[in-house]
Amino acid sequence: MSKTLQVFMISVTILFSLYVTSTIRRSKVKIDYTFFWIVLSLVMIITSIFPQIGFWGADLFGFVTPFHFVITVAFFFLFYKVFTLSLQMSKMQDSIEKLTQTIALREMKWMEENANTKSKKNLSTQNKSEKTKKKSSQTKK
């Protein structure tokens, strides 16, 4: 591996990890979601400082070049990440649906109760007015 390529790799990985840590600092991201990226950036920094790891892995699994090996590993990593993202998204969508439904149902219940109490109130006031009318008519007599 040429020196310029290595310097490039190291600076890119360091920039990436700085970006990850700065999002944590600004509390833009939940810590649970950062573990993957922290581990990934650590691995990336280590492999760019010691590219021998790539050569060793390529030898071990029989890849033609270390490049193939790194790309394959990254591919599986991202595969896994995308799938878990789908899982999380399903869960989120489910909870949003649940939330919307519950709010709507509660509002409906509340409106109905309100309507009931209102009509009861109306009835009672009507009764009262009728009674007072009767009373007034009685007194007139």
């Binding site: 840590t21 700065s22 944590i24 600092r25 600004r26 509390s27 991201v29 939940k30 810590i31 649970d32 950062t34 573990f35 922290i38 581990v39 909870s95 649940k98 939330l99 519950t102 709010i103």
Partner: protein, 235 residues
Amino acid sequence: MKVLIIIPAYNEESNIVRVVTNIHKLLPDYDYVVINDGSLDNTAQVCRNNNFRLIDLPANLGLAGAFQTGMKYAWKNGYDAAIQFDGDGQHRAEYIPELVKQMELTDSDIVIGSRFVSKRKPFTPRMIGSRLLAFLIFCTTGKHLKDPTSGMRLYGHNVIKEYALELNYAPEPDTLAYLLNNGCKISEVQVKMDERQNGKSYLGFLGSYHYMFKQVISIVFVQWFRKPTLLKKKK
């Protein structure tokens, strides 16, 4: 001191009545609130039938989200302190006044109801995990916490707002480590806890390993990147 007892409950229909009536009986002056974390069983119905003070979450948020709901309630209603109290009957209500007394005496921001202040830690798998976390917290903060995983904690006025509003304030050991590094004062009181009697814990077997992994990474790496709390700025 005006103290709120926050009781997060997930599928605790068989325990919640016993827990709350016990609080009623032993601590009639304390306010409490049950947070039903979108339970699949009849926890909410049971609470309504018994006229418990209940916040009924329509979806499952997990312990952190449910507890934060309680903290929001405490913050909005101007409580001086809020205590995290399990809905499964593991925690004993009679120790709550001791925690409050400790907070008043030592002016701590957080008081932990610890199982191991004066007692030795047994060598069960869970307690080995607890030892590891305690060791890591000591390494990163220089302070000894005997029982960082205890779920019975009293939070003072200073930290309620942050727990209520900020991101990444789960009621877990990593937050304690982070707060310790920001000049928060944490003390511990010896308490006794019971085994859970019915139902299942939030954490399963695999869940415990996942939990440990997260806590370790968070304590060792992540807390250094987080911004200093409002607490530190005040001081």
